[in-house]
Amino acid sequence: MSKYLLASLNSFFIIFFAYFAFLSITSWQESIELTGEIDISIGSYLYLPLGAYAFCWVVYGKQGFPGQLLISILMSLYWELDSNIFIQFTLINIFGPVVAIAIFRVLEVYKFKDFKSETSIAILFLCIVLALLNTLSKFLVYFMTENQTTSAFDFLATYLPGDIIGSFVFIIFAKFMMKIFHLGSQ
């Protein structure tokens, strides 16, 4: 029980940190307020939380799942997402990385037991697949609803590079921190 609690708490705070860093950078770049409703029709070029979800899933597995679910729901509430995409976006945030990593593991491409033993190019490859899955599923959900305010091109052209760069930056940063502080070594 305590194992689950600890992993969930760790996952929660790691993803919270990623969201905070992402929001701070975005608000600093675009000179906007940090709080309030966000325009999800245009993606950010540095979407760090995607990497955080993948990182937590690889490091903590299903033990960190409740923490991931909680932070995802809280962030969807904080961003005041419409009720017709609220649940879908929350689920995509959590299960997108799970599916991407499962594809790698099931098809025997990489094991991804931890990030310390993986090369940077393998992590980049994971980030590309993560970004493809995340962008495609969010695109499908967003454009299935009626009231779109942006073109499909703008949506894809901002989400895809933002997801790749953001997730890669976060995972490399986390790997670097693990190396410095000797974390994750038994």
Binding site: E108, V109, F125, F143, F153, L156
Partner: protein, 183 residues
């Protein structure tokens, strides 16, 4: 000479599968490209004959956009879409080789699961890149999500089906044809 022969083979393989897809698409309306076999043919041609058959595949894809597209094509559009369709698998093959995820340039000792992985990621990337180009210029009758969904699943199912069937039955069929002395 061998490269030319392989290019002709690749062109025929891809173009015939395009014709089959179009034929079945015309039979079953609303499910036009839910099994798009040409995607699998393109992958198989690249796996069998290597990257030297890019011109053959490019030509077949260009002909597809000229003759069977449901929009008014111009030269720039045809060349761009055919280039995206041809070069995306090559890009992913190279990416897989660089990241040591599997060497698809050499089919000896290849893990079939790596080919499935290759088809999945290529289908996703190809669908996104093509639609980033197409959805900015062309007005479709359907919603953007429906267009994307159809392209994605068409390529995914078509690719997996074609490569699976080819890997399972190509060798026996070739042996039967050989016995009949057609080749």
């Amino acid at each position: 000479m061998n490269i030319l022969k392989n290019n002709i083979n690749a062109f025929l393989l891809v173009f015939v599968s395009i014709l089959v897809s179009v034929f079945f698409g015309a039979l079953i309306e609303n499910f036009k490209s839910l099994i798009f076999l040409a995607f699998g043919a393109k992958i198989l041609a690249l796996l069998l004959w290597g990257v030297y058959v890019i011109p053959g595949i490019f030509l077949a894809k260009a002909m597809q956009y000229v003759f069977f597209a449901n929009f008014d094509p111009n030269v720039e559009m045809v060349v761009s879409l055919a280039a995206i369709a041809t070069l995306t698998p090559v890009l992913m093959m190279t990416m897989m080789k660089i990241s040591k995820a599997g060497n698809l340039f050499n089919l000896e000792n290849i893990n079939f699961r790596h080919i499935i992985f290759f088809i999945i990621i290529t289908a996703m990337l190809s669908a996104i890149l093509k639609h980033m180009y197409m959805l900015s210029d062309i007005d479709f009758a359907h919603n953007a999500a429906v267009v994307m969904l159809e392209a994605l699943f068409g390529q995914l199912f078509g690719g997996l089906l074609f490569v699976y069937v080819a890997s399972k039955y190509a060798q026996p069929i070739h042996q039967i044809i050989k016995k009949l002395k057609f080749v």
